[in-house]
């Protein structure tokens, strides 16, 4: 079964929800209005012809039945869920079910695209590149699902992305029979914006800047791959990187840490067991981390060794602008193949990213086609997001803003675009802005740890928080304001808890006012 999506004996999550549009849109006539789309001049004028047409319309019993029971929209979603259930339960002809699910997702996506382009002509297919779309004239790309939420302004971050991209100075020089072949790059990489960073149309208060990097390496052995990757990281990583985007906005990135190589080796001292290897700039530049073994001896693990099994490869920066402090994260997926195409290293998570990633390079050049109509990607994505919605609804992990973000994406891929748009209003609330600011205040602590003076930015953020809390005027916000005004040493952890409480309350109130969203939320999280 599609885990969590279709509970036993219950209706699928994507069950009947009569969608409605709450946004201010030009009033349109109801769908039933019998007005010819093709003008009267196009039609034969005789009454007989008109009658015949009416009879045809009236006579189609299939249509009548569908209108009086479920809409086709509901049927499509139910059928997607039922096919997914059959595939997950390995029930019947799974291959045929996958083929039908793929066709349904593909044709639905094509239908979305043609209608979405009528709504927003900025979304354009890239000529000759199936699955790839761009937003306006900006050279940013993604699947049709992803570009729906991106605006051309994301393009301004390309400078930052380019600067953080892993590159290799190593050029393979090959000579055959004394003739030099064209040198080729050993590392190819593409950086994308991911998560809420890539959804700037609907998420104005994303807490941080998330980037995902896709790295392809060609090497003869795993050891050689480790060398190539380690050298590239060492060359690429700096203590401080100053970047100005294409609009002239400056951001100064300060390296915090890199995770690479998974946990400490099995011979590490007991207190290091299960701990992730965390690399400082100094560790990276010298090429190893020293650690204590369980026998008390000191030994080291080299960056090259770590890069042979990079596992999660993640670099964290604190980014400082004139008026804020933001966390900047880059997670790299590394694929290493030899000349025969054998896989040497693959640290990909298997998670479908194409629904949210926005590329700065044509993804087809990296073999990264956004195959969002692939049944496996779809099933996996839905499963992960249902799981996360449940997780963030549990006591101890409760974060309703995160739930709302996951739900937004889930609604989008299950086809409920109108409901997802309705839900997106919660992301631009004052509570969401407060949550972002508190998160960023937390980043000022990290900035201090690397010796930065960010008092000016902190003052700006505190004033903004004060304004937002005063504007809200509820008890929780008043308490928050009290904490904010309690003195110069802010208890950020306490503020975070309070901001989270305010956000949870905001989302709860929002859902109470939007019963269809609440119903859907309850169906998913109780499945």
């Amino acid at each position: 079964m599609l885990n969590g999506l279709v509970p036993e004996g219950a209706q699928p999550v994507v069950k009947i929800v009569a969608p409605e549009v709450l946004h201010a849109k030009p009033k349109s006539k109801p769908a039933e209005v019998n007005e010819p789309t093709f003008t009267k001049a196009d039609l034969p004028a005789t009454d007989d012809s008109r009658k015949a047409l009416e009879q045809i319309v009236e006579g189609d019993s299939q249509v009548k039945n569908e209108k009086t029971t479920d809409s086709v929209f509901d049927n499509i979603n139910k059928n997607i869920a039922s096919l997914a259930e059959k595939i997950n339960n390995n029930q019947g002809d799974v291959e045929k079910a996958k083929q039908l699910l793929g066709a349904l997702l593909k044709t639905r996506e094509r239908f979305y695209l043609s209608v979405a382009q009528a709504i927003n002509p900025d979304i354009k297919p890239v000529e000759g590149k199936p699955n790839v779309y761009q937003v306006g004239e900006a050279k940013i790309y993604g699947s049709v699902i992803a570009v729906l939420d991106a605006t051309p302004t994301l393009k301004s971050h390309q400078v930052l992305a380019e600067r953080l991209k892993l590159k290799s100075e190593l050029i393979e020089s090959t000579s055959v029979m004394g003739e030099n072949l064209t040198p080729r790059k050993l590392i190819d990489s593409a950086i994308v914006f991911s998560g809420s960073s890539a959804q700037n149309r609907i998420q104005p208060f994303g807490a941080d800047i998330d980037m995902a990097e896709h790295v392809n390496i060609k090497a003869k052995t795993t050891e050689e791959a480790g060398q190539i990757l380690a050298q590239s990281i060492s060359t690429n990583v700096d203590r401080q990187t100053d970047v100005a985007d294409s609009n002239g906005n400056k951001i100064s990135l300060h390296f915090l840490e890199m995770k690479a190589g998974g946990n400490y080796p099995p011979d590490a001292a007991i207190e290091l067991q299960g701990q992730k290897l965390r690399w400082s700039v100094d560790d990276i530049k010298k090429g190893y981390i020293e650690y204590k073994k369980s026998d008390g001896e000191t030994t080291k693990i080299t960056l090259e060794q770590a890069c042979q099994q990079p596992q999660m490869l993640k670099v964290d920066y604190v980014g400082v602008t004139d008026n804020t402090v933001v966390e900047v994260t880059k997670v790299s997926t590394v694929i290493v193949k030899d000349d025969d195409g054998n896989m040497l290293i693959d640290n990909s998570s298997g998670q479908a990213d194409a629904y949210q990633e926005i590329y700065f390079d044509d993804p087809s050049e990296m073999g990264l086609l956004n195959e969002t109509s692939n049944p496996e990607n779809y099933l996996n994505y839905v499963k992960v997001f249902v799981g996360e919605m449940k997780k963030y609804s549990q006591p101890g992990h409760e974060n309703r803003l995160k739930v709302a973000k996951r739900m937004y994406n889930l609604l989008k891929v299950t086809g409920d675009l109108a409901l997802s748009q309705e839900l997106s209003n919660v992301f631009s609330s004052d509570a969401a802005a407060m949550y972002q600011l508190v998160d960023r205040l937390g980043m000022t602590e990290s900035a201090k740890k690397v010796g930065l003076d960010v008092n000016h930015q902190k003052e700006i953020m505190i004033q903004r928080l004060r304004d937002l809390a005063e504007k809200r005027n509820d008890d929780q916000s008043k308490n928050f304001l009290g904490l904010l005004n309690s003195g110069p040493d802010l208890n950020i952890e306490e503020m975070r808890k309070m901001a989270l409480g305010i956000c949870n309350q905001e989302v709860t109130v929002f859902m109470d006012a939007h019963p269809k969203i609440k119903d859907k939320f309850e169906t998913i999280t109780s499945s």
Partner: protein
């Protein structure tokens, strides 16, 4: 998905019922195109019947799909004001989706436990 998207010339009334759309329409709306609207072999819509068929297809599609959230976002009024080629593209894509859905539905019915 969308292989060849952008490669096909814009649809016109004359070309709409080519490219597999006729068989898709017949499969999805079996009664929509009357036999007398087709040529002798049943492989094409008679030129003087094309607009009738397109009009009824438009109405039928809106009846069936008008509840779809993205079509609701677009709205019938905006749809009617779009260039003809865009309206035809949306109709063709809607019919393809309905076809894929009907095929899925038939499979699921046949394989009901």
């Amino acid at each position: 998905m969308i292989e060849g998207m952008g490669d096909n010339p814009p649809l016109t009334s004359e070309t709409f019922f080519g490219q597999g759309n006729l068989s898709n329409v017949k499969y999805v709306f079996p009664k929509l195109i009357a036999p007398e609207s087709l040529n002798e072999t049943g492989s094409a819509v008679k030129p003087d019947k094309i607009n009738d068929c397109l009009t009824s297809l438009t109405e039928e599609t809106w009846k069936v799909m008008g509840n779809d959230p993205i079509l609701k976002l677009l709205g019938r009024e905006k749809f009617d004001s779009l260039p003809k080629s865009k309206r035809l593209e949306i109709l063709a894509d809607a019919v393809s989706l309905l076809k894929a859905n009907k095929e899925a539905e038939e499979f699921l019915k046949k394989n009901e436990v």
